[in-house]
Each structure stands twice: as structure tokens, then as C-alpha cells.
Homo-oligomer: 349 residues x 2
């Protein structure tokens, strides 16, 4: 009983401190109002506060976060959402910084988010080290939010989606979502962006070996990175190879032929071409009506994924359920029971 109370009060203490920054004396209605207004005006501070509410584990904060998001929903959707993946070492941060700076310099408002499935296991985060994008982070038109820390994959997924929507309401018109090309990250990101970009190095074949199966078939565009110095002839060859593969595979987005382009982030070359490709993509998708259709499908898929997650999580959270399933798995491995009988046993008990 003492222990329980201890946990509760710690928990209250933590959340209270995160709330009091803007709750203070005003009424909850007024809070909500002013938080929304400040986010809409483009305040990075209030945007960060809104995101913290969405990510909070405290019920009342979560509800407030949802209210904010609901109020701001009509302001969302007017942006280009770009997913960026690549093997570790492909230079994702360098590319995002160079690409983001080019856009921010031209007056675009650029938000950088991250999905890192591995962080749910290790507690690490690909954007955790903010210094990797120092120049972009200081730019007045940029907002960088590290990956939400530990939680279920579904949770990270949900938080990044809602963070993206809040950024849009705050006027960010280009959202860059970074993921590592391992695990399920890129499938999740593909499910929340308009355009999916794969960053690779030369020596395509060997490199792709380390990536998740099917990644080429999620890709709207390939960037062959580090197109500088003595690397340039090899980049040229690799671009050609990727174009060849992409031509063989089914297009990710209807009516769009994915292509490969060379980029040097150090020399800032090829970045303009990548942006032009993204714009051409948007125009093609808007002309064939797939731009909105895809987003609606993504929302619907997300809704159904969350329903499924909820059902499965609740089932396995029942007392003794996990060990019962483990026991049945053992029997299955030993060949004592059929899968159908095992499932029947689970649901008749």
C-alpha cells in the first residue's frame, strides 16, 4: 500500500511539472485556447508543449493533447510529407541537414521527425544526438523533434503521426521523417508519408543486402549519396543500376516511375533536383487523384492497426495468458497438438 502510494505520487509529481509550465492559474478552457492559438501562430515552444502532451503517459494530459489536436485538425494536411530511409552510414543526417537548409533558406518551414523502432529496445534514438544537424536546428524555419523514447512500436508510430499533424497545424509545409532501414521502421513511415526516399551509397548490390526485404518496392525515389570527388564515376554507375532495378519493379505510387538521382550533401549538388522530383511527384499524384486518396487510406489503415493492436494487447494482458500461449507453443513444437486445437483451447478456456 505504501509502495503503491509512492508510485502514484511520483507519477503525479512528474506530470504536474510538465503541466504547470502552461496550466498555471488560467482555466483549462483558456489553456486549450491559448495553446492552440500559439501553435497556430508558429510558436516552437508551444508546439513542443503540445507534442509533450500527446506523448504523456498521464490520462488527463493525453486527453488535453487529443483536444488540442482535434481543434487543430482542420489546419493540418497542407504540407508535403517525405519519408527518408537508408542503411546506417548512408549519411541520412547530412542529407537531411543539407536538404532541409536549402528549403528553409527559401522560406519553407521544415520539420524533422524520426521513427526508430530500435529505440524501443535499446532506449537509443537516431535523432537523439541533435548536434548532428546543428545548422538546421538553429534555423528559424526549422523544427527538429527527436524520436519518442521507449514504448511499443505502435506507440512510437502513433506519436510520430500525431506530432506530424501538430507540426502541420503550426505551419510547417515540409515534414521530413527519418527512419533506419532495418526492422519495421520503413513500412511504418511509408504508411504516413506522401513520398518515400531511399538513400544509398555506391556498390548498390552489396549494400541492399543489409536492408529490409521489399524496401525497393516502397521507394518513390532513390538518392545515391556522396556524389563527390573520386566517388563520382561510381555514383554515376550506381544511379544507372538503380534505375534499372526500379524499372523492373512495380511502381510504389500509381502512375509514377521511381527514379534514382546523385546527390552530394557536402557540395550541395543534386538537392534542387531531388526537390523538383518531389514536386513533380506531387503534381502527378494530384492529377490522378491519388494524393488525397492515399492519405485517406493511410488514416483508415492507421485506425484499423490501432484497433488490432488494442485487441491483441488486451488479450495478452489477461492474467496468465502469456504463459498459457508459451505452453501451447511448446506443445506445437513437440507435435502434440494441431494449431487449430491449440487456438480452440485458448478461446474455450
Amino acid at each position: 500500500m505504501h509502495v503503491m502510494r509512492g508510485i502514484e505520487s511520483t507519477h503525479d509529481g512528474f506530470v504536474a511539472s510538465s503541466r504547470k509550465r502552461f496550466v498555471k492559474k488560467a482555466s483549462p478552457e483558456k489553456d486549450l485556447e491559448s495553446l492552440c492559438t500559439e501553435i497556430e501562430k508558429g510558436s516552437r515552444l508551444y508546439l513542443a508543449k503540445g507534442i509533450t502532451l500527446l506523448e504523456s503517459t498521464k490520462q488527463s494530459d493525453k486527453l488535453l493533447g487529443q483536444e488540442v489536436l482535434t481543434k487543430l485538425l482542420p489546419k493540418t494536411g497542407k504540407c508535403i510529407r517525405i519519408g527518408i530511409t537508408g542503411v546506417p552510414g548512408a549519411g541520412k543526417s547530412t542529407f537531411i541537414e543539407a536538404f532541409g537548409l536549402m528549403l528553409a533558406d527559401r522560406g519553407h518551414k521544415v520539420a524533422v521527425l524520426a521513427i526508430d523502432p530500435s529505440s524501443t529496445l535499446t532506449g537509443g534514438s537516431i535523432l537523439g544526438d541533435k548536434t548532428r544537424m546543428e545548422e538546421l536546428a538553429r534555423h528559424k524555419n526549422a523544427f527538429i523533434r527527436p524520436s519518442p523514447s521507449a514504448g511499443t512500436l505502435g506507440g512510437v508510430h502513433k506519436k510520430t503521426r500525431e506530432t506530424m499533424l501538430l507540426c502541420e497545424a503550426a505551419g510547417y509545409d515540409v515534414i521530413l521523417i527519418e527512419t533506419v532501414g532495418v526492422g519495421q521502421g520503413e513500412t511504418i513511415v511509408r504508411g504516413m508519408v506522401d513520398y518515400f526516399l531511399l538513400l544509398v551509397l555506391t556498390g548498390a548490390g552489396d549494400e541492399l543486402q543489409g536492408m529490409k526485404k521489399g524496401i525497393m518496392e516502397l521507394t518513390d525515389g532513390v538518392v545515391v549519396h556522396k556524389n563527390d570527388g573520386s566517388n563520382m564515376p561510381l555514383v554515376k554507375k550506381t544511379v544507372r543500376e538503380y534505375k534499372r532495378i526500379l524499372h523492373m519493379l512495380q511502381p510504389t505510387s500509381p502512375g509514377w516511375t521511381s527514379t534514382a538521382q546523385p546527390v552530394s550533401s557536402i557540395e550541395r549538388t543534386g538537392l534542387q533536383e531531388v526537390w523538383e522530383t518531389v514536386l513533380a511527384f506531387r503534381q502527378a499524384m494530384q492529377e490522378n487523384n491519388y494524393w488525397d486518396t492515399r492519405r485517406q487510406l493511410q488514416t483508415k489503415d492507421w485506425f484499423h492497426a490501432m484497433i488490432r493492436d488494442h485487441l491483441i494487447d488486451s488479450f495478452f494482458a489477461e492474467a496468465g495468458r502469456k504463459s498459457q500461449v508459451k505452453g501451447l507453443e511448446q506443445e506445437l513444437m513437440e507435435g502434440n497438438v494441431t494449431v487449430t486445437s491449440a487456438v480452440d483451447r485458448l478461446f474455450s478456456s
Copy 2:
């Protein structure tokens, strides 16, 4: 009330007629005993009866089917399971007949099954037209079972898996599972076979366009079909192209480099080479221990897929649930509600 009774008696009538063939006067225990013995002896008639029990919609039949399967489980697993896919027109039946006949003539016992996700919608079946494999169907070492008719995809999936196990208990040492390369069929088949073969025609790029995304990355081996007459130079070129793509993609099976081979089913060339590749694959997988590991993972995945299906089906079967979800989807599309709130509403009601 009259209508209900009508339906029930029709149902009883149907199932009774499928049971009486072997139930007759004997006790249920003796039935079970003799059914298992006959299947083990290799009786195709009793094998078909056993499969009918597994596929039955009547509870008592289903239970009996499960008892039979449980009793025979120790006799299963001693075979090579090969999945075969390809776009319509690639010549899957012709290939399966030629390949199956070659094996059956050498004393292998060959069972041919099918998964056809489209049949759950259209009521059709890719193996429904048995005449397509007339010669193989008449061979004493072959057993052909058409795709189970209409039902949920999960149901078809389950039935084909259990049918496969029963065939193994009946001594079939090569199982060929056919699927069309559209929809989810090939992912399901990949999840129940050891070796997955993709049948293609020349003009690789154009053809792949019509196939499901990621299919190349499920593939252990590609057969370029119709390697006869004036088509031969083009087949040679296509084989080279596929080898090139396969080399770029991550291997489907650890330690195995997928390859492409030319085959003519009409002239019966290349079939022996395909079989040798399958045997080399088995040896490689057994040496690195992945043969058994994969099968165990497949069983476990199947178990968990059935748990998920059961949870989701039960949820959506609740009264009014479907229209409630439809209504929330509508609100989501209109941007009146966040996904998180929609899910909360669903589970708090």
C-alpha cells in the same frame, strides 16, 4: 421458425451424407482408428475423406478431423514443400503437370494443392478445372486436391495447411502448392513452404509490373518458362536479367542465393535442373539448420495469426460493431476526430 428448421435439416443432410461413407455401424473410436490406418497406408480415398472432415463446417466433423490430424502429426514433416506462383498465363498448370510427372515417374509421391485468395470472392478456383492436369491426376503416385471453396482467407489458409499435413502423413514426399501471383496468396504460401518458386515469361520487366510488390523477395528460385522454339534466345536474356535482380535483393533464405533457370514444359527440358536446385537448397538449409527452424517459425506464426484472426473476427462480429466503425471512419475522413480518440471511443463504449 420453419425457415430455420429447413436450413438446419439441409445442413444436417449434407454433413450426414459426407460422414456416412465411413461412419456406418462402427464405433467412433474404431472409425478414427481405421481412418488413420487407411490414410497412413496411402489410400487416396481415405485421404480425401480426412480432408473433407477438416474442411467441414459441422462441429463434430471438425473435431473428428482434428483428432485424425493429431494422431497423424508424428507422421508429418518428412517431405519437401514447394510453393509455385506466377501471373495468370505463365503456365503454372503446365509446369506443375510436367514437373510432377517427372517426379511421380521416379517413384516420388506428389500432392498438388492450391491457394486461391480470389476464390473467396468469386467462388472460382485455380485448380477447380482438374482437366488441366489430366495426365498427372491419373498417375498412381499423384494426388490433386482443388482449392477449398469460398470462405475467409484465413480459413482457406488453414485448410490448405492441414491438408498438406494430412498428405504428408499419407506418404506424399513432394507437396506442390499453387497460388496466383496477386493478392495475398503468395505471402501465405511462402509461410507454409520450404521453397518458393516464381514462374515468369520473357519480357521480365513488363510482366513483373502486374505482380504483387515484394514477390521477388519471397522467391528462392525463378523459372523462366516456355523455353522452346523461337522463344529461346529471349528466355536466355530474361534468365540473365532475373539473375541480376536476384543478386541485388536480400536472400529470402539465409545463405541461399536465389537463381533463375529456363524450362520448357512442352519439351520437358530444364525440369531436372529445377529439381536439383531444390535438393541443393534443402541440403544448404539443413546444413545451416534453417530447414527445421523455418518450419518451427512457420507453425508459431500460423498459431499467432490464428489468434489474431480470432480476436478481430470476434470483435467485428459483435452487434452493431461494423456500423460503429464505419461511422467513425466517416468522421475520420471528415477530420472531425483524431484516430486516438476514435479508438478510445470504440473501446470505452
